[in-house]
Symmetry: C2
Subunit: 404 residues, 2 copies
């Protein structure tokens, strides 16, 4: 089918297909050990329980659970989420503050739509979550990167960023994607203090919170800064991602606008999935389920870190996440993670080069490793292969320096 | 929770909560007979079949069907859709031309995002589908309405509209929402001829196509104008709406942009639902299922029309749809459908006043009636009540004219 030149909107000019998406093609080769994806471990999806509750709901209430429903989402599910925040964190969040989404990713699109004019400033962490950068990009903001330190955002840089009067500051404060770092309680407090009553919306994306396998639980940023904060959550890592169920919490004047945007975007999220997840949460022990996931991911993370310690050259740095699914590797600054990627492909191991996570350049010598979705045997073999590739790259670089 | 003034994007200034949404609140009163909604009849949702296939998929492939998946959607489901168009209409559509959506509504949002700059002209039917008007509104186009006649769009008006160099022309050519009219084969041909190689995207929204209960099947506009046409479809009326599964078909250069937008919007649509619907289509007889729906909706539409003939005053006009879920009533021009709505509420019957479906004013004396989601007893009682309200309004108007 031939097509005359299609008159796309200006916002499409600078958008590319996801870099990660292209990277992931390499991993389709079954001999490649991939630390590139961001997938939860499917061994822990509660498939049998889902089969049970879905069958029961469809048999008993089929006509109802397959019908159109409300844009806000299923009320008892929103009540469960509110109660979860109340009990776990003492947050003053109620069902009326919650909008159910197609994964928290949809929340990023709706937030961009509701808040961002072209050229508005959006503060994002560097490195920052690529899905947020992509979602916001459609609304043509001016991104300003705020560097991360081991215990959270660089406060001086955040202060400088706020001088641009940003519309929003987007952060993943707990087990951040891609870096794996977590904001300390002190940093959370200082971020909240700095934002204060500033009209900048704090977008707190918190999909990994329940995946802590070491260290102590921390309160969400939303606790320290209740006003002008939008808190995003997800069932993707707690239950299963294929259902595409997440949520956001926001104050009424903001939520009203987001509901209008949600309604225009797709009327409502899959209603059967909402009913199924709610029934699952009612009838099964989520905490026991989460403990199994935490134990497994903790074991995988400990193994990966100990292998990195053992096999990587000492000049390579890396984060030591207390939860989540990712860790972050920094090569010596004269090495390129893109070069390493090419070399690693030959060694049949894959990762995501870090530069895609930087809105304003940089990160050429960084990379992201996923530890949640690989067996211990694959972690062992994969890290050994990656270590080989790094050593080879270091060696080649030394030789090339020597010959100049 | 108090909130300082939130700095919303300019695009939010003119947007309101859906008018229909507010209207539907009246229908929450259980004594009200509502012809206002747009719901399929839940008696025909294949709940038992869904229970069966879902249970089997989750038991057998739970880890896989609950995992993240591709933005384009499940390939065998896209193959089914392509084959359906090939066999039914002889369309040259293949799996690679198809993107799976959260209901075809999401397609409207993505199309707006990919094509519309602020002030771009969007041609829409008058009356036109409200969900499309809402979705496009976020991208701040200038809407130009193109009047509908009994056999489709007014060709002279479409020609005049094309003089504005519109980015797109949005149409529901078969059993239109809200009017219930269907474009004749002649009109389809003339629309295609008129659009020709013009860069204007023809957005053909076709969710009701399979719900024809009288008359003869017609080919989609896409058949007559393959280039620069985006064809939208949905499982909402064929299978069930709560699953939120629809699709769009577009040529590769357009589809690529829409996939990037889909990915940023929510990564992908519910994967379990895609697998379930595909398996349902493989293992059950869709055609037999559709015949039951057509028979029931046809019966409901015949009853509604015959009651309107019998009870409405002769000066009231109405459409005689050959399929779909809606018919359209035009009151004498000195009557207001909003006044009728208030009066009808007292008679405990509801509908949607037509003016919301007009992007550029007008339609004050029109209303939409849904016939798919009411029992025969409710149709009989509801049309009688509505006839009473119309007669009362006519009487009051005559008296008020007489007393001036």
């Amino acid at each position: 089918m031939s097509t005359t030149h299609a008159p796309f909107a200006q916002r499409m000019n600078s958008l590319q297909k996801s870099f990660i998406r292209e990277i992931l093609k390499v991993t389709e080769n079954q001999h490649v050990i991939s630390f590139a994806g961001g997938l939860p471990n499917p061994d822990f999806f509660p498939a049998a329980e889902m089969a049970e509750v879905t069958h029961e709901l469809l048999q008993r209430e089929g006509a109802q659970v397959l019908q159109y429903s409300t844009s806000e989402g299923y009320l008892p599910l929103r009540e469960w989420i509110a109660q979860h925040y109340q009990q776990r964190d003492g947050l003053d969040i109620h069902a009326d503050d919650i909008l159910i989404l197609n994964g928290s990713q949809q929340g990023l699109d709706l937030i961009g739509k509701v808040f961002l004019n072209p050229q508005d400033v959006a503060l994002v962490e560097r490195p920052g979550y690529l899905g947020a950068i992509q979602a916001f990009s459609f609304y043509q903001p001016r991104f300003v990167g705020v560097p991360l330190e081991q215990d959270g955002v660089d406060i001086a840089a955040l202060k400088a960023g706020l001088a641009h009067n940003p519309k929003l500051f987007y952060t993943v404060p707990t087990f951040q994607n891609p870096s794996g770092i977590t904001y300390s309680a002190e940093k959370r407090h200082r971020v909240a203090e700095l934002l204060g009553d500033h009209p900048t919306i704090l977008v707190e994306d918190d999909p990994y919170n329940e995946l802590r396998f070491m260290g102590e639980d921390l309160l969400p940023l939303r606790y320290y800064r209740p006003n002008n904060t939008i808190l995003l959550g997800s069932f993707s890592k707690m239950v299963a991602p294929g259902l595409r169920l997440g949520w956001l919490c926001a104050a009424k004047p903001i939520l009203e606008k987001l509901i209008i945007a949600k309604q225009a975007a797709d009327l409502h999220s899959n209603y059967l999935a909402q009913r199924v997840v709610h029934r699952y949460l009612q009838h099964y022990d989520l905490e026991a389920h989460l403990q199994k996931i935490r134990a497994a991911y903790g074991q995988q993370r400990r193994l990966m870190v100990s292998l990195i310690e053992q096999y990587f050259p000492p000049e390579v740095e890396y984060t030591r996440p207390e939860g989540g699914m990712f860790l972050w590797v920094t090569l010596p600054s004269h090495l390129s993670a893109m070069d390493l990627f090419e070399l690693a492909t030959k060694h049949q191991v894959a990762f995501v080069p870090g530069q895609a996570f930087y809105v304003d350049g940089g990160g050429h010598n960084t990379l992201r490793l996923n530890f949640s979705n690989a067996s211990e045997a694959k972690i062992e073999e994969g890290i050994k292969r990656l270590a080989q590739a790094i050593k080879q790259l270091l060696h080649e670089q030394k030789n090339s320096v020597a010959t100049v």
